[in-house]
């Protein structure tokens, strides 16, 4: 605020860093990053939300740290430094979850640890944080985390709704009473393959609406 001649905090460019990754430049469906561990936690909405939040926090903070240190990190060991920063953040998140969100941390099991090798994080650190100032880097981190989270939440919503008939554990279909008409939950939705197919369908929808993204 003090320095008017500088670029404002929420300039057009900075806002774009955030909004672009929600749609047009989504890390999962367009940049093809970070699909690795995440899909396994999309059976229910709750773990997916926690996972999305954890990734966003880890990504934003590591982006910030690496960007702040970018002029001091020796080029030769930069990958190791990045890994150490990420691993530290992930351990902190994991320990906190184990202490304060025990039930969810049990459902996520090893997948919290796998955030370390989530390619989104390495990708954003290497491509953005190493070359930009801390504030845009933080926004970029939050943006990428949110873009990743949105896909996770969409997938988890459909899988939980169609597969178990609940939303966030609330038995919505049972309350409406569709079971009395002979409706049954689609057990297929909760099995791993359907996560892949749902992501495939999301990509289909996104690309038919935004033709620039179509691959040749």
């Amino acid at each position: 605020m003090s320095s008017k001649e500088k670029e404002p905090l929420f300039s057009e460019k900075n806002r774009k860093l955030f909004t672009d990754q929600l749609g047009r430049n989504n890390p999962v469906t367009v940049q093809v990053l970070g699909i690795c561990s995440a899909l396994a936690v999309t059976v229910k909405l709750e773990p997916a939300l926690v996972m999305a939040l954890s990734v966003t926090i880890v990504l934003a903070v590591s982006n910030l740290i690496v960007s702040a240190l970018r002029n001091y990190i020796p080029d030769r060991i930069r990958i190791i430094v990045q890994l150490v920063v990420i691993a530290t953040m992930v351990i902190l998140v994991d320990q906190t979850l184990k202490a304060y969100a025990f039930d969810v941390s049990r459902q996520l099991s090893v997948f919290v640890g796998l955030i370390i090798t989530n390619c989104i994080i390495m990708g954003r650190l290497e491509a953005f944080a190493m070359a930009n100032k801390p504030w845009p880097a933080l926004l970029d981190g939050i943006g990428a985390g949110a873009g990743y989270g949105i896909i996770l939440i969409i997938v988890a919503f459909f899988r939980e709704f169609l597969g178990s008939g609940t939303i966030m554990g609330y038995p919505i279909l049972e309350k409406i009473g569709v079971y009395s008409f002979g409706y049954e939950d689609n057990g297929m939705m909760i099995l791993p393959p359907m996560a892949l197919i749902v992501v495939g369908l999301i990509i289909w929808v996104q690309r038919s609406r935004n033709r620039e993204l179509i691959e040749k």
């Binding site: 060991i77 202490a99 178990s164």
Partner: protein
Amino acid sequence: MKNFSNRYIFVFSFIMVVIVASLLALAATLLQPAQERNLEIAKKRSMLESIGVISTKDNSVELYDRYITESFVLNIQGEVIEDVDAFNVVLRNEQRKPPEDQHLPVFRAFPDDGEKVVILPVEGKGLWGPIYGYVSLRSDLNTIYGVTFDHDKETPGLGAEINTTGFESMFTGKKLYQDDRFVSVQVLKGGADPSDQHGVDAISGGTITSKALEEMLSDCLKKYDAYLTQNRN
């Protein structure tokens, strides 16, 4: 890109390692009590569930102290082993030892209906990972008073149904012994006859988990055979 001397790289890595290590050690030390408490509460809650007491995170310790007041550890001959705390026995580690060295924990509970109940822990392998739980027996040491099961990662909607009340409640009233012979409880595909004292319905679509559960019950409870037979009336 700037060039850094080797000494700079060395100093940089050293400082980084020191900062990271102290940060993590601090976090681990601060959070460890809360983590261990979570594990303890989870264990107490599931034990309480097996005698039909529903507890929350906050009152589980208090309820545990009220209902489950005694515990001891047996060996396979049914003799009490002194100086071992039953609550801290990790069943998974015990199962790796030869049977004669295993510690078998027993908990005694006194629910509100005046029954004297023993609670026995069980653990085994499901389809994808471990399954575990507690079986509580009435004072005749034969009739099941209640059970609770849980799993780490059975197939949702299929095998994972073992931790639902619908499945667990079928076990109540079933018997472990038939004419003084240990027969355990069978989990029957296609449904069990309601009058069958040793069988419950399997989970449809969860055949492997059901079978694993049956195996777990018979393996774990059979080790208490000596104790149960000696003390049955």
